[in-house]
Symmetry: C2
């Protein structure tokens, strides 16, 4: 299961909620397994998951009828489905139906509501929670639907609570760790494939195509593909252009897709031909900084201490003016989960966090260098997901 | 330019707005050309575009400092940039900088605000609009930031106005039509490549990989890939599995990526081996229905009339029980722009609308069939973007 239900319950209890309502795609998938496609690929379509506190009823999915086929997939562990809107399915009477088709017919036989909030209200009333206190993920529900919900249940209390989901999502379940490991490895293999093909004259677009095609062939989906060569590598979010690789150019990849909905975000660098002394020194410095930060990470260690140690090591090892606002972040269904590895973050690392640690450096007129690894925090350190080293690859 | 500024101005004037504030990724890109990456690939990151009414000042982009490299790209026509948050860039003093790097340094030399709403408020005050009436796209701004905005400008009025953007986006500019044409054609070529490779034993996943790899090789990005074979094709949003193609199986593709941020959404069907009589009859019926609907479309024709004619033709030509809630929709930066080609839509088609027209049919235990074409409404009809016919392809 994706959901860390004891943490979500803890967050609910701390804030005195009778139930949580997930509304953004990441939180809907997280609390049910339901990949509500229209909500993932567009803005506005509504899908919710109602998660009552322990002993206050079963969780429920609220979805448009048009995507109930995705709500009955075997990955979805929430079985009570409320649908809204009509959608026409016919049935071939002559044949036996598959398990999925049979489940669809069962759900289609139940009544549907005219809109998502009416369906949500029905789920709430079925659990006798109409006077309850609800934590609502405020990111995915539109303001009009929030108002409609508050009007429909005048004795209930609705509190913005996207942070409760973010809190639970920070500590990954074994299934999440397994998907995140594979996701990071797909990104790693995809960068390696692009570096393997790199030679004078290849364009950023061609490198990006090799990267994304490899991701697809390994079973992932493209999301992030910042690929910059030469001085363009200093543009943080550089999008691949027709710039063609020249001798001495840096190649910087900051990239990663999704695997079974879980994000990857890693970074590696190469150089065409012999690196300059400055490039060699600077790259070594960011690698040492990364290593220093990673060495320190274990449960109980303060996040800000790791930040300062990493930045200090880069400065000492060759980039005296190095500065950053963060050197990493959690990763999961969202590309930026907690914790943010930043100067002022007093949180501590905990076992089961999956984190990206990075020491990027951007110098306009020179180039950008960035090493970023993904790992899970274990009982006494970290377990890295990476297949390749951070070394500056000479191509 | 992507923006249909006369329509956006008209929407602003009709509702008496002094300015519009775009907050969701589609509307930010639409009103400025700025592809605010973090906002596109995550939920929560804030980027805005302030568009004052004519003679009330220049438009402005509000962005985090971390993505200003994307705000200075040549595609971005809004030049006044307000940034929030710090981000460290260094500068190689010894060399001359590119135009992009120079623009970055100019913007970095200006002060930054601590958060997106502070930057937005500064842009509003610089235009002396602090007592104005604002139409705010309510989809992308988080409720906390909406409240902060209202508190910061107590004499201003803020009205939910995502519909003003949707209204303008319905009629495409020549640049949008050109991107949408290419996007549709990439999807069409990608389905053709998958059908070309289809033979007994190939899995849905393998077919989807060919589809997505082709999209990438043609310069697009994967988004939608519903690929179902056999009776699984009746699952509306079927996600590719390890199901292997058998003799007599239907293959249904409902798929499309993005090209330069613009969506594709088309559908085609194939069959492995000779189609049954039922399959042939049903497929012909949905094709005739599609043709009938498309034939009728021209400026001034009522959308609901096209809906009824299309559905009626499918019924008459071989699926007497055929029913739908819509038979198509606009397409643009969002996969579902106006108009929704539905039974109760009293709107009329207008020149410059880019639309997907579709007649899908889903029968559990039999399969799903769907033909979907994309086209632009011209002065006296439509100009189709498609390269392949809707015929049932025998593989």
């Amino acid at each position: 299961m994706l959901l860390n239900s004891s943490l979500l319950t803890e967050a609910m209890q701390r804030q005195g909620f009778d139930a949580l309502i997930a509304t953004m795609p990441e939180n809907v998938t997280y609390t049910s397994g339901f990949w509500a496609m229209s909500q993932w690929i567009r803005r506005g379509p509504q899908a919710y998951v109602l998660t009552p506190k322990p002993d206050a009823g079963e969780p429920a999915i609220i979805t448009s009828t048009g995507i109930i086929d995705l709500a009955v997939e075997s990955d979805v562990w929430v079985k009570d489905i409320y649908r809204y809107g009509s959608f026409f399915f016919d049935r071939n009477e002559g044949v036996e139906l598959s398990a999925v088709d049979t489940r669809m017919l069962e759900i289609l036989a139940k009544p549907h509501d005219p809109d998502p909030v009416s369906a949500l209200v029905r789920a709430i009333k079925a659990r006798k929670l109409e006077n309850g206190r609800f934590g609502v993920d405020e990111i995915g529900i539109t303001p009009d639907y929030w108002d409609k919900l508050a009007t429909a249940l005048p004795n209930a209390t609705f509190v913005r609570a996207s942070n409760a989901f973010r809190y639970a999502r920070a500590i990954k379940t074994p299934e999440e760790i397994s998907r995140l490991r594979r996701s990071a490895q797909i990104a790693d293999l995809s960068i390696k494939a692009a570096f393997d093909a790199a030679s004078e004259g290849i364009t950023e677009r061609e490198l990006a195509r090799i990267f994304h095609n490899t991701t697809i062939n390994e079973g992932g989906e493209p999301v992030l593909g910042c690929v910059g060569c030469g001085t363009r590598s200093a543009l943080t979010n550089v999008q691949p252009s027709d710039y063609a690789l020249k001798q001495g150019d840096i190649l910087r990849f900051d990239a990663g897709g999704r695997y079974r909905h879980y994000r990857a975000d890693i970074a590696r660098n190469a150089v065409l031909g012999e690196p300059s002394k400055k490039l060699r020194t600077y790259h070594r410095a960011i690698c040492v900084g990364l290593d220093r930060a990673i060495e320190m990470i274990k449960p109980g260690v303060r996040v800000s201490d790791v930040f300062h140690a990493g930045v200090e090591a880069v400065r000492k090892e060759g980039i005296p003016h190095y500065d950053r606002s963060h050197i990493g972040h959690g990763i999961g269904l969202d590309g930026y989960d907690a914790p943010d590895i930043a100067a002022n973050n007093d949180a501590v690392f905990e076992e089961g966090m999956v984190i990206c640690v990075e020491t990027p450096y951007y110098e306009l007129g020179f180039g950008g260098l960035q090493v970023e690894d993904t790992m899970v925090v274990t009982r006494d350190g970290v377990d890295s997901f990476m297949l390749t080293s951070t070394e500056l690859r000479v191509v």
